[in-house]
């Protein structure tokens, strides 16, 4: 408040979501007013974490909600068998820190070096109850994440590994499109194991699926963390053929 312009010059948290209504369709991103961003910055602290850093574990006391500024985070659950089920990848403008009865419901870990905003839940609650407009942005964001979660559930219902991977690549490409240039190059910051856990496949199946997509001339893996889409239509066809 005493430094109003800092909201524009210092990195401030923001949220990305597709809106409920058609009227706001021009943008995919929730635009927070600089006052709102300033308010969020006041109840939160900036955090930089190295890759692989565990941010919190399932069941740990939940006192914070996090907004991703830079980098990629994964949210997962450890299963009794020792396997892990990935619930979501989180990118800039995403929110995480889902709690239930005061405890986190997932584990989260940095995939790449990340920059986060850590917001105190109790302070955020107060703020949201005071500022209904800001709360509405959060409501839109959580709704967006619900849609994404459902989309993933539909995705992993598929039987064919190649189709799942195709959908995944499209998902990552769509995210990139939303952010910036419509490029054919899609970065995959996560490991094959992470992709496998996200798609509900074995590591080897992901590898074989990648081979098949490559064999059909749909994509080219420049390196393990960068795919180039060669035939967008062909890829879309496989991805859609559920």
């Amino acid at each position: 408040m005493n430094r109003v312009d800092t909201a524009d010059t210092r990195p401030a948290p923001s949220l990305g979501a597709v809106p409920f209504l058609k009227t706001a369709a021009e943008t995919d991103t929730i635009v927070l007013t600089s006052r709102q961003r300033e308010q969020l910055m006041q109840i939160g602290i900036r955090l930089r974490l190295p890759a692989r850093k565990v941010i919190y574990r399932e069941g740990a006391p939940a006192d914070s909600v996090f907004a991703v500024m830079e980098g990629t985070v994964k949210s997962y659950r450890e299963l009794p068998s020792g396997k892990r089920a990935l619930c979501a990848f989180l990118f800039p403008r995403d929110l995480f820190g889902l709690a239930e009865r005061g405890g986190y419901v997932n584990c989260t870990q940095a995939v790449t070096p990340v920059s986060l905003y850590r917001l105190s839940i109790s302070q955020l609650t107060l703020l949201l109850k005071r500022d209904a407009e800001l709360q509405f942005q959060f409501l839109a964001k959580v709704t967006h994440e619900l849609r994404e979660s459902q989309r993933r559930a539909v995705l992993i219902n598929r039987r064919d590994a190649a189709g799942r991977l195709a959908m995944f690549i499209e998902l990552m490409a769509a995210r990139r499109d939303r952010l910036a240039v419509r490029q054919r190059e899609v970065p995959l910051p996560m490991s094959r194991t992470d992709i496998a856990d996200y798609l509900g496949l074995s590591l080897e199946s992901v590898s074989r699926a990648a081979k098949e997509l490559r064999g059909r001339g749909l994509v080219k893996f420049e390196n393990p963390h960068l795919v180039r889409i060669l035939d967008a239509a062909g890829l879309a066809e496989i991805a859609a053929a559920v």
Copy 2:
């Protein structure tokens, strides 16, 4: 407002969700004030629909959000192949009507005869922006649905049909517990096909999984829509062994 007490005597919409914080842990249900219920009733109308009635289709213009009063609703997506992927079953105190850019993202259909509250999205938006406390209840509810969706995603990641069905029965039982008596009898209002589409299995696999659970003496199917849990511990063991 002119009939304040009607909120208690006439059926009014309510929401059920596990809260974020431990402090409110005593109850699973969001308690709306009678004023809030009255406000919701004023922007909505009561709706009674027969079983099988399609409530809305994917892509249709989204102008309403629905609260379930009685009965069961299913939310699903029609896939290009003609299959359908069930996203969720909705029970009393649940909310549905997820929209994206002004269109619904799923189809919804009544599984049993249902009683719904239909709330105008535009009016609800105005109301939520005026009443931050009420909006917070909606935020909690959507968050709850996000958790449920993630839980289901973990569920269908499993390989074994029997385990999935066991989890499903526990899910339905937990819902019942929350509502009322801790009974061993769990009603399954939906068809086997619906269960199959929800679990990501074929109809036959559900049938065989049921046979296996029955064979192990864990459950007894009194009839296709009513399971009795005979060995809760054994069922839990299979359900947990992911």
